[in-house]
Amino acid sequence: MNKVITINLNGNAYQLEEDGYEALRSYLEAAARRLEGNPDRDEIIADIEQAIADKFRAVLGANKTVVVSKEVRDVIAQMGPVQDDSGPGGEAGASKAPGAPGAAKDGPAAAGGSATGSPKRLYRIREGAQLAGVCNGLAVYLGVDVTLLRILFAFSVLSFGAGVLLYIVMMFVIPPANTPDEVAAAHGAPATAEEFIKRAKEGYYAFGDKRAFREWKWKFKQDMRQRRQEMRESAWAWRWGWHPHGAKNPDPHPGFWFVGSSAGIVLSILSILCVISVITLITTGTVFGFYLPWGMPLWAQIVVVILLFKLLKGPVRAMRYGAYYGGCGGSPFVGAFVHFCTQLGWLLLLFLFLWYADHHSSTAHDILGHLRSAAHHTVDAIREWWSQQ
């Protein structure tokens, strides 16, 4: 059931569905805005109302007394946006280019709809993608070279393993650009500083209070500076046998130093092993000859392997942190435990999220399937390249 609203168009009553009424009202309001300053504004609006009334009359009949929303929208589409090139003086001809004063007058309203003025959106772009188009989309969004991003990602995979997880998360979070409109939106307005300033001026970023924003920025910078300072200090303390980090424990037990260093070495070895196992998993389907159980898809196996290594690394890393905290005069166990729990919780959450997405979203399932074949292709390509060397 729809609510019907009766309107008066140039002296005639018409009944419109509520949605249609809203559409018509905003059309006429936009028209009035465009004609701001035109001496014949009221007359033009009356003419337009009359033309709309004529079109409404054409769709109504003896048994049809209400104009439905779709019909209203069709009529508005037929009318087309009201364009006024004349300006108040009426001197300029109709030859004035579009986008001159008439359009500039109501900038924000005009900027919303057109393709060139619309804000840029982050999409995955599958065209020319290596995997799921995350890097492609990001590169377009940030306006940097895609190869650079890919190298950065590859590097982050080697050094932390977090790159893979980040990529997978982004694959879920960022929608793919399927239609030409979405691709256009992905390329959107350039994300340059100029554009940023322009948008900021238009009140695009809703930092209502400028002072609050400045304060926030200042505080953020202060925080960062302080953190860097702390990091530098602790690195210093670490290197020089934990000389007073607050002078609590000027003479640490040498055991702490031994545990800390050996844990560091074990961690590096585990990281390398992790990368090797993922590569062997992708190429041979096994991890050092072991098949993973449960008939999981390849992507899940990769995640599981990475998680397993993370878990293996967890206690070692905890030991290292513990040694560090102990060396600095804190409790080694609190430091180790807190670190271990955060790591574990974070990984569990991620794994649950991936699992849930795969089982409850067909798109996510498809994407993950797509990732699998894409990974195969990539590895094949790398092998081919290698054999050619």
Binding site: D40, D47, I48, A51, D54
Partner: protein, 111 residues
Amino acid sequence: MSINEKFTAIRKGLLEFLVLKIIAADKVYAADILSQLGSTEFATQEGTLYPLLSKMRREELVDYQWKESEAGPPRKYYQLTAKGREQLRETSEYWQKISGTVRSLGQDTGQ
């Protein structure tokens, strides 16, 4: 950029000329003008035509009379003023010159 897009500005500039021509031929109301333009490359919508007509009236190129119609409310029927006819003549001449130039330019170099 398609041909259609490239010529947007030109079509826009020629619209007033064409409306003058249509009104010169016969007394018409807005819907007549739209339907005559509708089958051409110059197809136009009310949102563009009404402001243009009101501008032309302000410049005293056209004038209108209210006339009763068989069905519905009275309509504005447009006709050219003396100034409008003068403008149409000038524009036609200028257009002849332009199209003559467009036609002849390439051929001159070819011969």
